[in-house]
Amino acid sequence: MSNLAVLPIVIPLIASVISAFIPKKLGLSRFIAKLFAIIFLVYAGYLAWVVFTDGIIVMQASGWAAPFGISIVADYLSVTLVLITSILTTAAVFYAPSSLSQLQESYYFYTFMFLMISGVVGAFLTGDLFNLFVFFEVLLMASYGLIVLGGGKVQLRESLKYVLFNVFSSMLFVTTIGFIYASVGTVNMAHLAERIQEAEQAGILTGLAVLLFFVFAIKAAIFPLYYWLPNSYIVPNPVVSALFGALLTKVGIYSILRVFTLIFNHDIGITHEIFTWLAIFTMLFGVIGALSTQNVKLIVTYNIIPAIGFILMGISLYSSAGIEGSVYYLVHDMIIKAALFFLVGALVVAAGTDDLRKMGGLITRYPVLGWLFFIGSLVLAGVPPFSGFIGKILLLRGSLEQEEILLTVAALITSLLILYSMIRIFVRGFWGDTVEGLPEGQNKKVRHLTIPAAVLLAISIFIGIGAEFIYPHVETIANMLLDRAEYINAVLRE
């Protein structure tokens, strides 16, 4: 038992409260944001190091032992994702001043951002199903604040739909928790995991599992529930889109990964079979969406969806190669999505439009941005030796081991089409003849926007090339997810 586990939730919360008091003093609030982001980054690194050397840390709130109190569990998967979140937070804090207008920044951008980070981290760390709902609400409330920031006509229209979808899925979540509490009598995840193995009415529990999956599938944008995502993710500022694309849908897929490895694995024949089909459709339809549009922001946004499909594919396989692939891909995708949203933000500033048909020849003026975008596309598509490749090869190996030929073929086709959809931006936007009427005097701004993206790309390349170093940790995470005993013992027996 240790308070170490709760600090990653508290640090962004403190930053959020402090910056709420000084919204108009931009210099000071920028400094506070950067300071806290770096403290958070260092602390998350330290926590990850402690957990990977000494094992899972559990904090029981107010000393109420699980399953009566609320448990905060810093296990291997959670701390890894917290570390990635802290990296993205730091990058976003350095990206934001150049991307947002001063007015937008002074309307509580940092407050909402840190509040959202606090909710995301809380969702990763909590060991209690109801608490997961509360942290979902924390991050959603903050995301409502971020999505309306700026308040344009289109932005408000799409925000309203986003809020309505999330309100509906939240209420469904509460109802499902009610069902689970009535049938099993607990909401603590480790306790649930034990009780569900002993429970007799497996049919009802499978029904509840699918209901819970439905809730998380809305958040994670899984076929056929992704229709709310593209339009609402392109309306806010690129820095907000980057945080949404890299963190919010990933919280949904993380919840699926956690719940369907730890709790609901009593009837894999039904639940994980559904996942296989949904993974195939999510991958294919997501990438078809990316090919269907000429809007650069929309192309990157649609690429969130096949990535979720890949992670779901690993969960559906439920083997060590599959889960390892999912975890590797999750880590890879969080970083590369943020990097690509940052780069697209810079591209839109450089070209003055988000319509691909009106761009061209940008490579002569912005060579660094162009080549970074090219590398980013390769990383996303999973060209060796970058990070997407390692995740995909694990997933494909797991898929072939179980002779899921259709799944394998769908994954390969999707990878190829992802590469095509991204390279299209590079070929049309950066090559070709220079179009007239490019905005002048944006060089400095574009350079400021490119640096955080370049750092994220470097990390992403390291995850690919340094697979020797990363893979043992991923193996530890996958073993913990599949074995379950370590997690349950850490929460309930100590």
């Binding site: 109801f130 409330m141 006509k153 309505l164 309100v167 209420m171 469904l172 109802t175 909401v187």
Partner: protein, 112 residues
């Protein structure tokens, strides 16, 4: 008693879904309010309804009320209250800027 409450919750769910599927903002927001009421009522029922017993666990006492659903509902009520008030303000702003409160006219297209 539980059966009665469950039926009541299901009626609330049905009216909520009906309202959510309407086109006017205000009806949709009323739908979300009813949905949260339904979920809360349902949560209360799921903890088994008992009257007259304190929610305190003392050794030897077997007949006690379950305090957990109350705690869950309180949290959830506060959240849905906040979200509803935000939603009303957002709907009003959207209406003033877009000059419409009809979802059909707010579909949006890719050519903007």
């Amino acid at each position: 008693m539980e059966i009665l409450m469950a039926i009541l919750a299901s009626i609330l769910f049905a009216t909520a879904i009906y309202n959510l599927l309407q086109k006017q903002f205000l009806r949709i927001i009323i739908g979300t309010v009813l949905l949260s009421h339904a979920a809360h009522l349902f949560l209360l029922t799921m903890g088994k309804l008992k009257r007259g017993n304190p929610p305190v666990l003392v050794e030897g006492v077997t007949n006690y009320a379950d305090p957990l659903p109350q705690a869950l509902i309180l949290t959830s009520i506060v959240i849905s209250f906040g979200v509803t008030s935000f939603l009303l303000v957002l709907a009003y702003r959207t209406y003033t800027l877009n000059k419409s409160d009809n979802m059909d006219e707010l579909r949006g297209s890719s050519d903007e």
